[in-house]
C-alpha cells in the first residue's frame, strides 16, 4: 500500500498516453469521416476522363432538366416542410408555455413519439390512410364527392417529413420560451403592453434563436431525407437521384458526387444560419429561482378551443403510427377504410424469415453506440481536462459529422474503400458489414459526444483533484470517481446513439451489399416496396419503434435513478 502510493507520485498520468489516444481517435475520424467526404467533393470537381479539376460536372448537372427539377423539388419540399412543421409546433409550444393547461403533459409526451420513428417507416402506411384511395379520401368521396391530394407527389414527402420532424422545432422553441424570465414580460406590461403586441414585440423575438435552431435542423433533415421519397416513389428529388445514379450507373458516375456536394453545401449553410441566429443572442434570461413565463389559467371556452387544436394536431401527428399498426395487423388493406381482417401472421413472418434483420440491428446499433461512448468519453476528457495542443479539434472534427448527410457518407465509403480488400476474405472493405457499423458510429458520434461532454461537465475538477490529492493516480481517478459520476451522461450517450442508429437508412442503404447483412431499416425498405410485403414491413417497423422506444424509456429511468442517488 505504502510503496504503491509512493510509486504513484512520480507518475502523474504518463504524458504520452493522452497523445496516443488523441492520435488513434484523430486517425479514426480522418479515415472514416474526413477522407471519404473530401473524396466525394474532390470527385465532384474532377473530370471523369482526364482526372483534372473542373467545373464541368456542375455545368452538366444544371444543364440537365431532370436534375434542375430535382433540385427545385428538394428545395421546395424542404422549405414547405419547415413551414408546415412550424404550423404544428408553434401552437403546441405556445399553449404549453403560456397556460396552465392539463393537456401540456400529453403534448410533451406524445409529440416526442414521431422522433422514435424515422419518416420512411410510416410513409407507406400513411399513404393507405391519406392517399388517393386511402381511408380518409374514400370517406370524403363517398360522403362529399371530393378528395384531398394529401399524398400526391411532393405533398406526400412534405406531409410525412413535417409530421416526423416538427418536434425539433417544438423542443427548441419550448426551451427558448422557458428560458425567458417572467420579468421580461412583466416589464413590458407595466409599460402598457399586452396581448398579441407583447407577444410579437418581446416574447417572439426572445424565442427566435430556438425557433431558428429547430427550423434549420428540420430543413437539413428534410433536404437530406432519402428513404421517404424512395418509398413514396418520388424520384425527382436530389437524394433519390444520387442513390439511383450510384446504384444503377455505378460509382464512377459523377452526378452522384455533384448531388452529394450540393447536399453538404446546403447542410453547412443551414447550420451556419442557425449559428448566426444564435450568436450573440444568449437570451436565456432566467434568474435564480425564477422560471419561464407566467402561466395563466384558461377559461372553459378557451380551454375547449385549445383542446380542439391540440387534438387535431396530435391526430395528424399520430396518423403514421396508427396506420402502421393497422397495416401490421391487417390481412388485406386496399380500397378500404380499414383492413379487411386482422392477423398475427406478419409478426410471425417478422420473427422467422425476417429475424436476421432484427439481430443485425441490435448488433450494429449496439456496436456503434459502444464505439461512440468510448470515443465520446475520450474526446470529452481530452477536450476538458488535458492540456494537449489542439485538444478541441477532435471535438470539432467529430461534430462536423452533423453537416454530412447519410447518403454522402455512404457514397464516400463506397468510393474510398471499394479497392481495399479485407484481410482473410475475398470481400472489399466497402461490402463488409463492419463498415456499416463504422458509418453508423461516425454519424451518431456528435450526439453521443454532446452527452459525454455534458456528463463530464457535471463532475467538478475539484472532485478529481481531491482523489489525486489522497493518492489515486489519474487513471484510477477516472475509473473510480469520474466514470461513476458521469454514468448518467454515458448511458444517455449510448442510448441516443443506439436508438438513432437502429433506424438509420440512408448510409445503410448505400452500404448493405447483401440482404443477410441488412439491419431492420433495410428490411423495412425491402418489404415495403412490394405490396405483398407491406404487412411484414409494417410489423418490422412496429418492432423497430418498440426497440427504440424501450431503449429511450430505459435510459430515462437509468438517468433519473442516477440523478436521484446523487442528489
Amino acid at each position: 500500500m505504502n510503496s504503491s502510493r509512493v510509486a504513484s507520485y512520480g507518475l502523474k498520468l504518463p504524458s504520452l498516453r493522452p497523445y496516443a489516444v488523441y492520435i488513434v481517435i484523430a486517425l479514426f475520424l480522418i479515415v472514416f469521416l474526413a477522407f471519404p467526404v473530401l473524396k466525394v467533393i474532390y470527385v465532384a470537381f474532377q473530370d471523369t476522363h482526364t482526372g483534372s479539376l473542373t467545373l464541368v460536372n456542375f455545368h452538366d448537372f444544371f444543364s440537365n432538366s431532370l436534375f434542375r427539377e430535382s433540385f427545385c423539388n428538394s428545395l421546395y419540399v424542404a422549405c414547405v416542410s419547415v413551414c408546415l412543421a412550424s404550423a404544428f409546433a408553434l401552437p403546441l409550444a405556445y399553449f404549453t408555455s403560456r397556460f396552465n393547461f392539463s393537456g401540456s403533459v400529453v403534448i410533451q409526451t406524445l409529440s416526442f413519439i414521431p422522433l422514435l420513428m424515422p419518416p420512411f417507416i410510416g410513409a407507406v402506411a400513411l399513404r393507405l390512410l391519406l392517399g388517393t384511395n386511402g381511408s380518409v379520401n374514400l370517406l370524403l368521396r363517398s360522403h362529399f364527392g371530393f378528395t384531398i391530394p394529401f399524398m400526391e407527389g411532393l405533398n406526400g414527402v412534405i406531409l410525412v417529413d413535417s409530421i416526423h420532424y416538427f418536434p425539433f422545432i417544438l423542443i427548441n422553441l419550448s426551451a427558448s420560451l422557458s428560458n425567458i424570465d417572467r420579468s421580461m414580460e412583466e416589464a413590458a406590461q407595466t409599460l402598457g403592453s399586452s396581448g398579441f403586441r407583447l407577444f410579437r414585440k418581446i416574447v417572439f423575438p426572445l424565442s427566435m434563436p430556438g425557433f431558428i435552431a429547430g427550423a434549420s435542423l428540420v430543413f437539413v433533415k428534410v433536404f437530406d431525407d432519402l428513404g421517404t421519397p424512395l418509398l413514396l416513389s418520388v424520384n425527382k428529388m436530389l437524394p433519390p437521384q444520387a442513390y439511383l445514379r450510384i446504384t444503377s450507373i455505378g460509382i464512377s458516375d459523377p452526378m452522384g458526387y455533384v448531388i452529394s456536394c450540393i447536399l453538404v453545401a446546403f447542410s453547412v449553410f443551414a447550420m451556419w444560419v442557425s449559428f448566426l441566429g444564435m450568436r450573440g443572442k444568449d437570451y436565456a434570461t432566467v434568474q435564480k429561482g425564477g422560471g419561464g413565463l407566467s402561466k395563466r389559467d384558461l377559461r372553459p371556452m378557451e380551454s375547449a378551443a385549445c383542446y380542439v387544436v391540440v387534438l387535431l394536431i396530435l391526430v395528424i401527428v399520430l396518423a403514421p403510427h396508427v396506420a402502421l399498426l393497422l397495416l401490421s395487423f391487417g390481412t388485406v388493406w386496399s380500397f378500404g377504410v380499414l383492413p379487411n381482417g386482422y392477423t398475427l401472421a406478419h409478426y410471425h413472418q417478422a420473427f422467422t424469415t425476417a429475424f436476421g434483420f432484427i439481430v443485425n440491428t441490435i448488433l450494429y446499433a449496439g456496436l456503434a453506440a459502444l464505439i461512440d461512448v468510448l470515443i465520446g468519453t475520450a474526446i470529452a476528457y481530452i477536450g476538458q481536462r488535458s492540456d494537449i495542443i489542439g485538444r478541441k479539434w477532435l471535438d470539432y472534427l467529430a461534430t462536423a459529422a452533423l453537416g454530412i448527410p447519410g447518403i454522402v457518407i455512404g457514397i464516400g465509403y463506397l468510393r474510398a474503400f471499394n479497392n481495399v480488400n479485407m484481410p482473410f476474405s475475398d470481400q472489399t472493405m466497402a461490402s463488409w458489414w463492419g463498415v456499416i457499423v463504422i458509418a453508423l458510429a461516425v454519424r451518431r458520434l456528435p450526439y453521443a459526444l454532446r452527452s459525454c461532454v455534458a456528463g463530464l461537465q457535471q463532475v467538478p475538477v475539484s472532485l478529481e483533484e481531491a482523489s489525486q490529492n489522497i493518492g489515486a493516480t489519474s487513471l484510477r481517478t477516472i475509473w473510480r470517481i469520474v466514470a461513476p459520476l458521469m454514468s448518467g451522461g454515458l448511458v444517455a450517450a449510448f442510448v441516443t446513439s443506439f436508438a438513432t442508429a437502429a433506424v438509420e437508412l440512408s448510409a445503410t442503404l448505400m452500404l448493405v451489399s447483401k440482404q443477410e447483412d441488412g439491419p431492420i431499416s433495410y428490411g423495412i425498405y425491402l418489404y415495403m416496396q412490394v405490396v405483398s410485403g407491406r404487412g411484414a414491413g409494417a410489423a418490422l417497423g412496429i418492432i423497430a419503434v418498440i426497440i427504440v422506444g424501450l431503449a429511450t424509456f430505459l435510459s430515462h429511468q437509468l438517468v433519473a435513478g442516477a440523478r436521484r442517488k446523487m442528489a
Binding site: D181, S183, A187, Q189, T190, L191, S194, M208, Q287, G290
Partner: protein
Amino acid sequence: MKDTQSPVLVENESTDGRRKESAAAKLQTSPVRIDIEKLSLSFGATEVLKGIDLSVEPGEFFAFLGPSGSGKSTLLRAIAGFGPAPRGRILIDGEDISGRMPWQRDVGMVFQNYALWPHLSVARNVAYGLEERHVPRAEIKTRVTAALDLVSMTEYANRYPSQLSGGQQQRIALARTIAVEPRVLLLDEPLSNLDAGLRVQMRQEILQLQRRLGITTIFVTHDQEEANTICDRIAVMAGGVIQQLGSPADVYDNPANEFVARFLGTANIIPGRTERTATGLIFIADGDGFRLPLEDGVREGRGNLVIRPQGIDIVGEPSGASISGVVRSAEFLGSATRYSVGIGALALLVDVKHVRGKPRLSVGDRLSLSILPEQAIFLTS
C-alpha cells in the same frame, strides 16, 4: 467594473445637475397618493399578506423593509398588478385600481434583475413604453433623451444591454420606467445585484432622481441601511403583516416589538418585569439580574427591556449604586468597540466610541455600567 468610467464621476458637477434638472422638467408629473386598504393575498392555501393597511403620501419616498418571505415583494407586485388577485383595495390618487390589468395601471416598476430586453438596444428599450402609448415620434425622441440624460447614460443609447455593466443596466431600467411618466414608481430590491461600493452610489442617484421628479416611490429592500438612508418613511414587514410604520429614526428609536428592535440594528433584549416603587417605576431583570429605573408612562407587568448597545455607558470602577459587570469578549468595529459585558447570567452588548489611541478593556476587567432611563424601552409581552 466599468462604472468607475461612467460620466457621473467625470463630468462637471454643476452642468450635470443643470442638465438633469431640465431633463427632469420634461418628465415631471404631479405626485399622487397611494392608499392600501385591508389587502390580503394567498398563494393557494398559504396567506402571504394579511390585511395590509397603509398610505403613502404624494411625492413620498417609502420603503417596504423586511426579511425574505415577509411579503414585501408580493405587496409591491400586487400594486403593479402581478401575482394572484388580492382581496381589499389599492387606491392611486383616490381611484381603486385593484381590478385593473398591469398595463392599465400606469405604475412604473424597476425589476430586481432589471429585465432589460436583450434583443432591443438601450434607446429602443427606453422608447418601448412610449411606443406602446402611441406617443408621436418626435416626442418619443425628446423623452428618451431626457430619460437617458437623467441617469447620465446618453452616450449608451445605441448599445445593447449585454454590453453594459450591472450599474449601467440599473440606470437604463430606471430610465425606461420614468420615460413613460408613470404615476407611481416601484423599485423591487433594485440594488441587490450591485456590489457594495456601487450600491452606495446608486442609492444616492436614485434618491436624487426621485427628488427631481417628485414621483411617489416605493422601494422594497431587506437592507435596513438602504431604507434608512434614502427613505422618508418605512414599513417594517414580517409574516405578511406590517409590524411598524414611521420615519427610519422613529422606528429605530421606538421599536414597536421585539422583531422590529432586532431587525433594525443590534439591540439588547432583556426579559423581566416592571414594578412600581416609592421612587417610581423600576425594571427588574429575570434571574439574578439588575434593577433599573424607567421613565414614567411605562406599563406594569412582564415584558422585555430593549436597549441599544450605544445607549449604555461604561462609567469606570464598580461602585455601589451602578450595575457592575465583567468584560467577557470584545469586537473591534472601527468606529466603536463592542464589549460583551456579563452581569450574572446576563450578557449585555455595550458600544464604546473609538478614537485613535484609545486603550481597550481586556477580557476579565471589572467595570460599572450606567443606563439612562430614556435609553431603555419596555415592551410588554
